[in-house]
């Protein structure tokens, strides 16, 4: 088990390095630096060189690359061009809160509604609620999150004025974006849970449980749900990707000071140390989640846990 985790960590580090390298060289290929914009060309030449010097843009690319990797390892992503000299790591850290809140709320909503829908749909297979769940599942993955967010904003925020349209002033502001993000999570979980449950309900040990004289509810909760909920952990990876993607658009739509909107803004302003910083942040986060999912899955599923112990892995 320990060796397995170490192996995974090594792979993930290689992945991360490749992402860093790709990001770095792609950024170098960007048409010019942020100073390319009109304001920068208006500066006197000596000030321009001074600034290039300050941001280390005059070194040979390979030196810049080495410095960059070293700095990233230290958690230093350089300074933001756009936010006049603030360290990128600080800018990112300051933006984590809102994104995390919205993301967690979306997962919470999606998980609770998705699991309930999935369980009931499988239990009452081919019933009205089953079809309803399938419709939700299809719509949830088919309606692009930015469309859902825009429509929610228009109807609930603007037309009916039930909740704040945008901005980040109170907890109420986080409801609409969280709901918008949660649609696809709900859909993914409901669908997955339904399929798993249907599969588990066909298993022999469900008949064993019934033969013990347990009532339907106990059979369902103790035997069926327990066994089908474990694999749901495996779709946490895709769900996190989905949330990261979604947050870029949704945070923009609701003007939320999170990392997603920071990323989009830095793309628009060619603020490339921030872009690189967020890229590294997102990638590490994603990789971390994948590792956690792997470990978590082997911890909660006794079959895997002990099978790998047996092999001394």
């Amino acid at each position: 088990m320990f060796r397995y985790i170490c192996k995974r960590i090594v792979y993930l580090l290689i992945t991360l390095l490749i992402i860093l390298t790709t990001t770095f060289f792609l950024m170098k290929k960007l048409p010019g630096t942020p100073f390319d914009s009109e304001r920068f060309s208006l500066l006197p030449p000596e000030q321009q060189t001074q600034m290039l010097e300050k941001y280390g843009l005059n070194d040979p690319v390979i030196v810049q690359y080495g410095k960059y990797i070293l700095n990233v390892a230290k958690g230093d992503f350089g300074t933001s061009f756009f936010y006049s000299g603030q360290p990128v790591s600080g800018v990112i850290l300051g933006r984590i809160g809102p994104s995390a809140l919205i993301g967690l709320q979306a997962i919470l909503i999606g998980l609770s509604i998705g699991l309930i829908l999935g369980i009931i749909a499988a239990w009452r297979h081919n019933s009205g609620i089953d079809y309803f769940t399938m419709v939700i599942a299809v719509l949830g993955v088919s309606v692009p999150n930015f469309v859902a967010a825009a429509l929610l904003q228009y109807f609930i925020g603007l037309k009916w004025g039930i909740l704040p349209v945008a901005f980040w002033e109170s907890w109420k502001c986080s409801i609409l974006p969280s709901v918008a993000l949660s649609f696809s999570v709900t859909a993914m979980i409901a669908r997955f849970m339904r399929t798993e449950m249907l599969d588990v309900l066909e298993q022999d040990y469900i008949v064993t449980a019934k033969a013990k004289g347990l009532n339907q509810f106990k059979v369902l909760m103790r035997h069926a749900v327990r066994n089908s909920i474990i694999p749901v952990v495996t779709i946490l990876g895709p769900i996190v990707v989905n949330l990261l993607t979604g947050s870029l658009a949704v945070e923009n739509i609701y003007s939320i000071p999170g990392i997603g909107s920071l990323f989009v803004d830095s793309i628009k302003t060619n603020d490339y140390s921030t872009i690189m910083g967020i890229t590294v942040f997102y990638s590490s986060f994603y990789i971390f989640v994948m590792l956690v999912v792997d470990v978590l899955y082997s911890v909660i599923d006794p079959r895997i846990r002990l099978a790998s112990n047996g092999k001394g892995d």
Partner: protein, 307 residues
């Protein structure tokens, strides 16, 4: 009828048709005929296929029937609500939304199909080579895959989009550079599974050549997985394109794609909601249909999933 009423003459030995004993009731179908029959039974999937064909036809010929081209501006006709002359209204430059939506659908579908096809090509080749060669080749190729699955696709796509000049082919390239990994994994897994199955072993024992085994056993049994995965690739490409255009790094005006139109509509949502709602409906319709069709195909082509 009671026992005693049965006439005596029936108690004689009867002729039994020996052939009939071994009769097998079900007709013999190839996997594809069987799959097609099952797909046809799935009303939702057939309906989706039908809608998709209509949407594709509209994307191809819709602009032709419009009185205006998608880039013609007419400043006397800006922000017209939907009417007989402009079924989907006009935008801030007085451009015909009908023509623009079908043009946009055309571009979105073009991008999606091309990207899915390239994914399919690279993915199938990579996966098949990896599985068929096995040994060291497979080990190395697997390590590559293991490293690549850790890469968040969207990040790389966004970076590529920033570096390369904006345009349709840039999006296609960015999508296909990152999109093939999943296909490669699935194809490899499927071929490996088949390779170890009894019917392939049996063919090998009977002296069937490698070529025959690949052509007769491996390819026909992998096509299902490939088709199904491609079916899910297409909507995901449509989504990614729309997403990129929406956050402003995809296609740009005056070009039209569904993402561009939605982005455009979003900015005037408060006053002219139809500019968002129509393209949004089209994209949702396409995504829903592909999703249902993909599910239908999976159920039809993968008999183990049959319920």
């Amino acid at each position: 009828m009671t026992k005693t009423e049965i006439p005596q003459e029936l108690f004689v030995k009867a002729e039994v048709d020996k052939e009939a004993r071994e009769h097998i009731a079900r007709p013999n179908l190839t996997a594809f005929q069987d799959g097609w029959l099952r797909l046809k039974k799935n009303k939702a999937a057939v309906c989706s296929l039908f809608i998709l064909i209509i949407v594709i036809l509209l994307a191809l010929f819709g602009p032709v029937f419009a009185k205006h081209t998608f880039f013609d501006t007419d400043y006397s006709q800006i922000y017209k609500s939907p009417s007989a002359a402009y079924p989907f209204g006009t935008d801030q430059f007085g451009r015909d939304q009908w023509a623009r939506i079908w043009q946009g659908t055309r571009i979105s579908l073009l991008i999606a199909f091309t990207a899915a096809f390239i994914d399919l090509f690279i993915g199938v080749t990579f996966g098949a080579v990896s599985a068929l060669f096995g040994g060291k080749v497979d080990a190395v190729m697997q390590r590559i895959i293991e490293v690549l699955v850790g890469v968040p696709q969207l990040i790389i796509v966004i970076l590529l989009m920033m570096v390369m000049p904006a345009g349709i082919w840039t999006i296609v390239l960015a999508l296909s550079i990152t999109g093939w990994v999943n296909m490669a994994r699935l194809v490899r897994a499927q071929i490996l599974k088949l390779k170890s199955q009894e019917f392939v072993l049996a063919a090998r024992v009977l002296g069937t050549s490698n070529r025959e085994i690949i052509l007769k056993h491996l390819i026909p049994n992998t096509v299902g997985v490939i088709v199904i995965n491609a079916m899910f690739d297409i909507p995901s490409a449509i989504f990614t394109e729309a997403f990129l255009s929406f956050i402003g790094i995809g296609l740009a005006e005056p070009n039209a794609s569904l993402g561009v139109l939605i982005n455009n509509g979003y900015h005037v949502l408060q006053n002219f909601p139809y500019l968002l709602i129509f393209p949004a409906l089209v994209i949702i319709l396409i995504m829903v249909c592909f999703s249902i069709l993909g599910d239908g195909l999976r159920d039809a082509l993968d008999p183990r999933m049959r319920q």
